[in-house]
């Protein structure tokens, strides 16, 4: 193993090695910040360029993009409420309110630090798990997976903040939207309204960009004029980034929890960073002593989301390398790149190309360090976006969102879907329906359905499979506990109120 590490380091710590990681990282940062484009598109665009290149250097270019794009996505999420990539969607919830309070620099500092350290956490776990990865992956079968997703859905109760009925309706509609298109179990096409466009369902990116970016653009258009940071910005040295850096260490348990969740969910094949991002955010809200502060600029919201979405890369590399099963969309493209360069992922890779595995791990670590360092130095310039007149910001958000959505798969109707969901998102916000349950429901709904039916198939239709297996049963208990928390708290609050009212 040490020989493989030294071989990987000799390639990485060379002029060419560092240059390729740096170039990939800058490319990832730019594309990550563009709504709808993100890391997968960045990787796809590189595929033809790397054909014929030394596989080691090509991999460094790929991991450069993978390291840079999540932080790039958080920049637009925090400054403009436009999630650059779906995995940054939960960053909007508290990052943008922080920017509105004039704390954009601090939020970006948290994002830069948490992204880098989260990735290093995930990669350390990956390195430690390589010898036992196979057993861990095999422990997670459909029932366990269904329970994880059910736990994520149960968080709707907490994220409803103040109006549970509206939260449940939003969550229910989010889940129903995820059922549009092919049924993952039977193959039937549902709710397509006779159009071919809906056969594949409602695309994630137009929905997210519509709900967050366009609804925000509408809100800014119809509201009072001014700037995003309506309370001015705190222009300190490094634009407040240092405060964000310190915040990560001050809230170390939140960081560790987010990173651990990101890594674990990353390991489960086919789930991806979006789910990791939301589950980390909602768990943090659930465990917080002040859940009412989330969605209003709580730094822990940014920390939980950003540490998870970068830590997931380390986890996602586990099934990609060990079984050749991609843990996320980016990993699927990376798998394609392996094949393009004549490499066969799976157990053979661990034996024959261990140096390449270490190139991926160390390259990804370096890429995250470069992305965050670049981010730190650019924060002072970036935060000034929040002080630009809204008359200039709003149309740029709209044009960038529409062009980015089109760039994703060159489908014109995606733009219409974005506009429609922008209007829906605005309506929901205007009439007090929380957006978070809708988005969580949409991300987890179809996944839950598939895992549910797969579990029943495995158990010949018996529901006992959800309680017979230790991991699934534990997760079920945790879900039931989290569902009962609001009811218990509500009772305690009303008892307290009665007590206070007694003369």
């Amino acid at each position: 193993m040490f020989e493989a590490i030294i071989a990987a380091l000799s390639v990485l710590i060379s002029f060419k090695g560092i240059l390729f990681v740096f170039l990939g990282c800058v490319w990832g940062l730019i594309l990550g910040a563009l709504p709808g484009v993100g890391g997968p598109t960045g990787l796809i665009l590189l595929l033809p360029l790397t054909f014929g290149m030394d596989p080691m250097l090509a991999m460094l270019l790929y991991v450069g993009v993978m390291g840079g794009s999540p932080f790039g996505g958080s920049i637009s999420a925090i400054l403009l409420n436009v999630p650059g990539t779906p995995i940054n969607a939960a960053t909007c919830f508290d990052g943008y309110p922080m920017a509105r309070k004039g704390e954009a620099g601090k939020a970006l500092g948290i994002s830069a630090t948490a992204s880098c350290m989260g990735a290093l956490f995930g990669l350390t776990i990956l390195a430690a798990l390589l010898p036992v990865a196979r057993a861990i992956i095999l422990a997670f079968t459909p029932p366990e997976f269904f329970m994880i997703v059910l736990f994520g859905l149960a968080t709707v109760v907490i994220t409803s903040r103040g109006n549970m009925i509206k939260g449940f309706i939003a969550g229910g509609i989010g889940i129903l939207l995820s059922f549009v298109g092919y049924c993952g179990v039977t193959g039937d096409v549902r709710y397509s309204l006779g159009t071919e466009y809906l056969w594949d369902g409602i695309e994630l990116v137009p929905l997210f960009i519509g709900i967050f970016a366009i609804s925000e653009a509408l809100h800014l258009s119809v509201g009072k004029r001014g700037t995003i940071a309506d309370q001015g910005i705190a222009l300190t040295k490094l634009g407040g980034a240092w405060l964000g850096f310190k915040e990560v260490f001050r809230r170390k348990w939140c960081f560790l929890r987010g990173s651990a969740i990101g890594t674990i969910i990353g390991i489960i094949p086919g789930v991806g960073g979006t789910v990791a991002n939301f589950i980390s955010y909602t768990v943090t809200v659930q465990l917080s002593k002040h859940p009412e502060t989330f969605g209003r600029g709580n730094p822990e919201g940014v920390l939980a989301s950003e540490s998870a979405n970068n830590a997931k890369d380390g986890g996602a590399l586990v099934p990609t390398i060990v079984f050749g099963i991609p843990g996320s969309l980016e990993m699927a493209i990376l798998l394609g790149a392996f094949i393009l360069h004549g490499l066969v992922p799976g157990p053979a890779m661990l034996q024959d190309h261990l140096d390449l595995v270490w190139i991926l791990i160390l390259g990804l670590a370096l890429s995250n360090i470069i992305a965050s360092s670049l981010g730190f130095f650019l924060i002072k310039i970036l935060v000034r976006i929040t002080t630009v007149n809204l008359a200039y910001i709003v149309p740029v958000i709209v044009v960038l969102s529409f062009t980015g959505v089109f760039a994703m798969r060159t489908e014109v109707w995606d733009i219409l879907v974005t506009a429609i969901f922008g209007l829906v998102g605005y309506g929901m916000r205007r009439h007090g329906f929380p957006l978070v349950p809708l988005v969580i429901g949409y991300v987890l709904g179809a996944i839950a359905e598939k895992a549910f039916h797969q579990s029943l198939m495995v158990a010949d239709g018996s529901y006992s499979i959800f309680v017979n297996r230790p991991i699934a049963a534990t997760l079920l208990i945790v879900t039931l506990l989290s569902l009962s928390v609001p009811f218990l708290l509500s009772k305690r609050t009303s008892k307290g109120d009665e007590h206070n009212e007694t003369p």
Binding site: I165, I169, R190, Y392, F402, T410, V412, I415, R430
Partner: protein, 163 residues
């Protein structure tokens, strides 16, 4: 019976109709295909119907809803208070106008037209500032998407573009 809030009533009614349509359509599918949509759709439908009722009898909500962590008092009208009259309609129109322009004339013409309209009418900027900002933003977007990413921007149905 007096409506608590006309806008919220209409929006909730819209959500109720959407959920009702999904539930009704679900009955056309096989047992496995419709199972989950019905498990989720029916409770959502009932809650939406309840919320429509609440608009007529606001007291009902306090009896049945749970204000988790008692944060309802913190919410207020999220964004409604700051809305300028007629502005929402105009900006919604502008949004779909931009989509129509892209569809018919393509990005290269639609983007500067939309930007100029927005800067000049909604942003109330001078002609000079609007034209300069339009040129800079359009140029940067073209550089990013068409030159750097090599994306072929949609040309518009009237100019030979195909869907």
């Amino acid at each position: 019976m007096k409506l608590h809030s006309k806008g919220t009533f209409l929006f909730t009614l819209l959500l109720l109709l959407f959920t009702l349509a999904v539930v009704l359509m679900s009955f056309n599918y096989g047992q496995k295909t419709r199972l989950m949509p019905l498990i989720v759709g029916i409770p959502t439908l009932l809650l939406a119907a309840f919320l429509v009722l609440v608009q007529f009898y606001p007291g009902l909500q306090h009896r049945f809803d749970i204000d988790v962590f008692s944060v309802g008092r913190l919410r207020g009208a999220d964004i409604g208070e700051q809305t300028r009259k007629g502005s929402l309609l105009f900006h919604t129109f502008l949004l779909f106008f931009f989509f129509a322009l892209v569809l018919l004339l393509g990005f290269l013409i639609a983007t500067p037209l939309y930007l100029l309209t927005f800067f000049r009418i909604s942003g109330r900027q001078s002609w000079a500032k609007s034209i300069i900002a339009t040129g800079v933003v359009s140029g940067l977007l073209y550089l990013l998407f068409a030159v750097l990413m090599g994306l072929r921007l949609f040309e518009g149905l009237l100019l030979g573009g195909r869907i």
